[in-house]
Amino acid sequence: MGLLTFFASLIIPGIFLFRLIARTSVWSFIGLASAYALGSSFVAISLFFYFFIFHFSASPYLNLVVWLPALMLGGLDYFVSRSGRLVKSGLSPATLGRASSGLAKLSVFKKITLAIIGIIFMLNLLVLFGRAISQPAASFDSLSMWSFKAKAIFFQSSVDFNADSPLYLGGGGHINYPWQIPLLQYWLSFNVGVYDDLRTNWIFIIYFFALLAAMFSFFKERLGYFQAVILSFFFFSLPLVFYHASNAYADLPLAFYLVLAAVFFYRWLESKRREEAALAGVFLGLSFWIKDAAILFLPAFILAAWLGAGRRLFCRQILGSILAAVLAAAPWLVFKAAYSLGFANVAPGLVFHPAALLSLLASMFVSYSWNIWWFIVLFFALLSLRQWPRNRGLAFAWSLFFFSWLILMLVFVFTNAYQYASDQTAVSRSLIPLAGLSFLAVGLSIKDRL
């Protein structure tokens, strides 16, 4: 029951927020996935204000802190909805017309392929659920940081602001890291009544499925049912992504928010509805609450938006989207500045370690964490190169991926973060958000080609 209350407390305010910002119906895969993202950030930020800004201790009134604003959002949504109807879908009729119909029209070969995919999917679903109910998060960063901080608040009932305490600002490794993931683990435990590592697994599994839902929705609207299933299955069956579906790390949730930002930006390119651009900005800003690595993607998004939208549209509409991003991230960034937390985890200064590039490439092309995905990306990147000038959507998607990869590579080669590439501790998982973005680019290339 506690678990259900927890997820209801995320999705209900998320639905209201989505309706208020997007002005479209929430009843679609992308709508519900977005609602989960908005709702989980909304609850985490509410708890952040409660514990970190107002310095309150946990109490039964904490329910009011979460549920009262949710009810107020519901009321606001009710009054706003009375003044104007929601748009059924933000997509243009041309885009919707391109999406082909469902299972009935598929050839026998495609049906057999789908059957094989279905079997593999179901077996791995059982594996994933088996892991969720039997294996607590055990990886180092979860043990020492993401789950550690959640436990610090749960067992201490408050945040320690004494700088001499080992539990200062939650303790554990990296006190400068953002709080959405630990606060969601805390909030789940608060609802359940005990701290249970097995039950917190579900937070990450739902993020995983929400990301899959967002991708499936994006591909189905643009490529049709069959290609959408294939690409979504590809993402589902990436070994490293699958592993991160239940290991209580922040990389997969970060990928989720960045993919949503990219999806809504692309939808804005199609429809030019300001609401889509605003949502893209909000998701980009909220990604700062997930993991500090979000800052690496900000310049990539700005550059890609410039290329995708063109200078005139960029200045007229995208600057508003950037403002939305800044507003969404502002409380955390101000807090960071106030407590001198910063973004870096390594010694400052520039270095040069070209071997880190080799580690990065080995992670992409040699390890079997990715199946043959990066070969496929390379194939479509070359194939699509000539289409960039005449297809702004394609230019946006590929340049977003390319700039993100470039920034990541520069960080590993030219800063002291090279050590995380050399010892293979962080380089592979730092590619997870990139993998999400690359799926959008490949999907759009398929749309453009076939």
Partner: protein
Amino acid sequence: MSAWFGFFSLDSLSTINIISGYYIGPVPVLFLFGGLALAGSFCLLFASDSGRKRDFLSIFLLVWLAFSIFWTINNVRNIIFSRLAFGQDYDNKKIIRVCSLGDFEGRLCRIFSFLDKSLSDCQPGSRVYIDSPDELKIYLQYYALPQWLPAPSRDRAECLIQYH
């Protein structure tokens, strides 16, 4: 460069992928297959019609499915074996018996899991196996004994450390 030259070696491949913990024999062959498909696609890149490109998509799909089948078998095998292994004894390993209920057990299991040893099913009375008590001691002190842990759990932890 050794990682590239070791591409065809099963051992090196499994070393690279410590994080996933998987060990799948035919993977290098599948990667080779994928590489050949890619090389072939480059040859046809600038002189192919959309039908041929669809053929290459089919090749990618087949390679992917072949890999995924092995990956699935391995996933299923791992989760079954990781359950069955809990009941076995290994004479050359040190044994710790987790003696009572509480938050501490869950914490202990995570520590063992981090040490990449057999993961207990986190039930009271179950056994876990380690071969590095010093390392365990460090992690118990650092991670399992924060201030908020109730006193009885602290006592049990110290008792366990002295056990070695």
